[in-house]
Amino acid sequence: MDRAAPHIIGLAPIALRMPDTVMRLARMGSAHPTRLSFLRILLRRIETEGWRFERRIFDIDEKGVGYAVYCLHGPERSYSLVAFAHDLPADKRSDRVIATAWDATFTLFDGIPNADDITRLSANVPLQEAGRVSPRELSLSRANRSVRLFDHVVARLATGQQPERDALDEVGYLMRTTAVYGSSKFGAAENADIATRPELCAPFQAEMMSVWLTRSFTIDLVNHLARTKGGADATTLAPALARSLGVGNSTGLGMAPFLVRHPALLDAWVRVRETALTRVRGQKRMSMANLRALIASCEAARDTGATWRSSHPVQLAKLADLRGDLEKLHHHLTTGRVRCAGNLPWNAIWLWGEAHLSLEGQEMLLSILLEPCGALIDDLEMSLRADEPPAPPIEGKFQLGDLRRVIEGRYAWALSYDFSTQEARARFWYVSEEKLEPRLGARFEEEGANREAPLGIAYLIRQAYDAIATYPDATPAYAFILAHPEHRQILRRIQWLAGRDYGEIRENLIGAEILPIDMMRYKLAFFGANHFDPRSDKWLRISLFAGQVFPEHICAPAHGGAHAA
C-alpha cells in the first residue's frame, strides 16, 4: 500500500506499476490529463473555497489595443491577470519563443495592482524577456491570435452569427501562448517564497491561474472587437462554443529538458499518479453509480477523441488507436462484462485494458478510472511537490563498490545500451547561441557536441560506471570525484534519486530514435493539456482548459468590476 494514505482502509494491496513500465517514452508520449492534473487542482480549489471573480478593468480600443485587469479573490489573497493587448502586424506574428512582438502579453500580479504598478508593468511586460518584472509578479507570458480562427470568429460575431463549430474544433483556441514563465524568471517571485500558500502549493498553480484568466480574456476580446465592428448587429460567442475553446500553447524543445533537470519533481508527479491508480484498482466494491460514472467518463473521453485534430502521421495513427480503444472500452463497460460484485472489479477493468488496449488507450483508461474517485485520491495533490536545491549534498563516504551495485540495480536500463555504436550517441542536446533555446543536434554531422548539455543520462551513467570500475571497491566517493570532477554531477544525481525510482526517463535520450515530443506531451498532460497536435518530432501544439469552466461558472461576482462582454 502507499504510505501517503495510511487512513485509507479496505483497499486491496496493489503494487505500483514498475518504473521500467511507466518511464518509457512510448507510454509517456501517450499520457492524458487526469483529475490530478494541475489545472484541475486549481479549478477544484477555487470552486471549493468559493473564490470571487471580477473584470476590474477592460480598457481596450476598437483596434484591440489597451489593457485589462481580471481579479480572482481567494479566502486570504487576491491575484490579478494584467493583460496588455497590442496591434501586431501579421508579418510580426510568430510562435517561436524567440519572437519579439505578440498580440497580447500578460503577467499574474500578486494582489490587486494600483496605477503605479500598471505603469511599471506596461513598460516591462510587453517586452517579455527584454523587460524585468518583480517579486510582486508570479508569471510572465504572451499569446498570439490564431490566424485560422480569431478573425473568423470576430467577423461572424460582428454580423450577428455564431462561428462554425467545425472551425472551432479544428483549432480549439482563439489565442495560443508561446511561453508562460513562472517562478524566478525575469525577476518574478521565487517559487519557494510563494509555495507555502495553500493555493500555490501544487505545481504551476500561478501559471495555470494566469492561463485560465487568459482564456476569459480571449473570449472577451473577440466579443469586444465584434461589437466595435458590428455595432448593434453584433452578438457574443455562445456559451457552449466558448466553453469548447481553450488557450493554445505552442511548445518546442524548451520543455523537454525540464523533465530531466527536475528528476525529484518528476518522481513526485509520477508517484502521485501511480499511487492514485493503485488506490482505485484496490477498491473491493463497485456500485452501479460508480459504473455509470465510469461510462460517463468514458463518453467524455470519446468526445475529446472526436474533436481532437492532428495532421501528424504519428499522432493520426495514435488517434485512430485511441478512438478504437474507447469504443472497445465503452462496449466493455456497457454490455454486462463488468462484474460489480466480483473480485476487485476496478482492477479487473484495468487488467482487461492492459490486455486489450494500445498504450494511448491504457493511459486514457487510467484517466477514466481516476475520474469518479476524487474522494479516494484527491488528497494526493498535496504530494506533488519536491524540494530541489540547485546542488544537493553528496555523501562522500559512499564507497564505489556500493555505488557500482546501485548503478547495476537502479540503472540497469542505462547500462543496457551499447554506446560504442554511433546510433546510441547519434544526437546531442545543446543550447543554441542564436536562440538561447534547447536544441537536439546530430552528433556526427553537426558542430557543437563539445558543448553538449548533460541530458544524456544513460550515457553519463555508463561513463561514470566505467570510470568507477578502475578503482578499488573501498574507495570513497569523495576521492573519486576529486580525481574526476566530470562525474560529480551524475554521482550527485544517483545519490539524490535514491528512493525516487520514477525520477528517470528510462530511455537513451541521445539515441537516434528519440522523439522529444513524447517528453513534452508527458509534461503537458500533467498540466492538464489535451488535443496534443505534434507539428514535427520536436514541436507540439496543445490546448489548455478546453471544455473546462469559466470563472463565472464557479466564482461569485466581486463588486465593482468592468464588464467586457
Binding site: V147, E190, L253, P390, E433, R488, W539
Partner: protein, 220 residues
Amino acid sequence: MQLSAGEWASLGMKAARGAGYSWGLAEEFGASLAVLAQWGISGAGPALALCAAQAVLGLPQMTEINGGVWGQSAAPLCPVATGALICDLGHSPQGLFGPRPLTLTAVAEPLMLLPFLDGLAARKGRAVQIATPKAALVFGGLFPLDANEITQFADHARDATLTLCAKPSRYGASVRRAPDLQTVTPEAYADLDRFTLATTVPATAQSRETGAGAGLSDND
C-alpha cells in the same frame, strides 16, 4: 537589475561551466551565488574573477588530500572546489569534523566559500568556524550573521591562511536573510553572461534547417 536567487543559481552555473568548471562544480558555483543573494550579497565580482581565472589558467584543483593543510602550491585554492570537497567529506576524519582543524593556505575569493560552510553547519547541526589569525566567523552558532559581517570577513580573508573547525552546537543561528535580493549592475551581468555563451552552440545552416519549428508555418 535585481536577480532572483534562481536566476543567480542559473547564471552562476552556466558562467562557471562556460569558464571550464565541470557541470557538477558549476552547480555548486551557482548554488553559492544563490545563497549569497539570499543573504543580500552580490557575488558577481568574485564570480567573475573566478571565471576569468578558471578560463585563463585553471584554478588549482586538489586531486588528493594530504594531512590537514590544503593548498600548498603558490596559487590560491578555488573556493568552490574547496567548499564542495569540505561538504563531500562530511564526517570523514579528513574533513571538518575530524580531530584536527583544517588549514587552507589561501583561497581565492573566499566569499564564495562561505555558503558551503553555512550549508554544512545547517545540515550537520554543528557550528562551523572559519578564522584568520585576526578574525573569525561562526555559522550555526549562537548569533546570526549579517551581510556586512560576512563581506568584511571575506575581504579580510583574501590571501590569508584560513583555519576551519566544527563543534557541536545547539543554537544553529544562520545568516539573516536580506529583505531584498542584491542587485547586479548591467555591466557585471553582461560580463558573467559572456561566459555563459561558451555553453551554447552557434547556429549553422543545418541547425537552422532542423530546428524545432523549422520548415513549418508556426503562425496559423
